[in-house]
Amino acid sequence: MDMKRLAIGTIVGGVALYAVGYLIFELAFGPYYAANVGSATGALRSQNLEWLLALSNLPLALLVTLGIESRPGTPSIASGFVTGAVIGFLVWLSVDAYYYGATNVWRFIIVLIDPPLSGLAIGIGGAVIAAVLARMPKAAGVQMAR
């Protein structure tokens, strides 16, 4: 695994995810999420911690970069989108289902709407990561025979 490619994929992906997440989850669908809060009171912060929201994209970007890098062959924009979308959809379906099952934070409609939106957002992040990695040469080295 090439650490330079992982680092660049993570940074580029983190920036892309933050920008796409802002457009989708705050500008386009922010009012929708706010209107579908469950019975818990005071669940949403009045002022988001933007610095933490920016940093929170880095572990997810690293996860998508690892997913792209662990597949054989040169990454493509299409394969990056599919890898990111599958990871985003399944991770957020899990988390939204857990939260709906254990808490009163969201109404049920969020369990249906949030995973596809997250799949789209993280898919776009995966496509951006793959587009950058496709332009970077892989480090020369001994390859294990399969």
Binding site: G42, S56, P72, A102, R146
Partner: protein, 146 residues
């Protein structure tokens, strides 16, 4: 992609995650999570929706199985553990940070402890999935040259 292997990995992994999740997050660390709630009121359901928790577990199990099946070479218990632990840690670190940035559900300590517990939880599930997949023959078929 062998659908039978993916289905069996998902079922075995989902059951493992459900049992381990009960042991780790309810029996062992339930009091920790309850003691570190944020300022939101009426957050936790009583009783929880077990079906939603199960959906979350099967969704994560599908992701771990796909990750193991798309990697080159036969799965082993060690790489199953590493794959599950890596996905569990990175996914929950990102998501816990997002939830902490948006909501008043938990104190900050949960953002540190929860990803570590999730890595153990997911790592064991990944190892169990790999142990089952190792014993299943891959379907014979044409392999694309790489």
């Amino acid at each position: 992609m062998d659908i039978k292997r993916v289905a069996i990995g998902t079922i075995v992994g989902g059951i493992t995650l459900y049992v381990l999740g009960y042991l780790i997050f309810e029996l062992a660390f339930g009091p920790f999570y309850a003691a570190n709630g944020g300022s939101a009121v009426g957050v936790f359901r009583s009783p929880v929706f077990q079906w939603a928790i199960a959906v979350g577990n099967f969704s994560f199990a599908l992701l771990y199985t796909l990750a193991l099946e798309t990697r080159a070479g036969a799965p082993s218990i060690a790489n199953g553990f590493i794959t599950g632990a890596t996905i569990g840690f990175l996914a929950l670190f990102g998501i816990d940070a997002i939830h902490y940035g948006f909501t008043n559900l938990f104190r900050y300590i949960v953002v540190i402890v929860d990803p570590l517990l999730s890595a153990i939880h997911s790592g064991i599930a990944g190892a169990v999935i790999a142990a089952v997949l190792m014993r299943m023959p891959k379907a014979a078929g044409l392999q694309m040259t790489r």
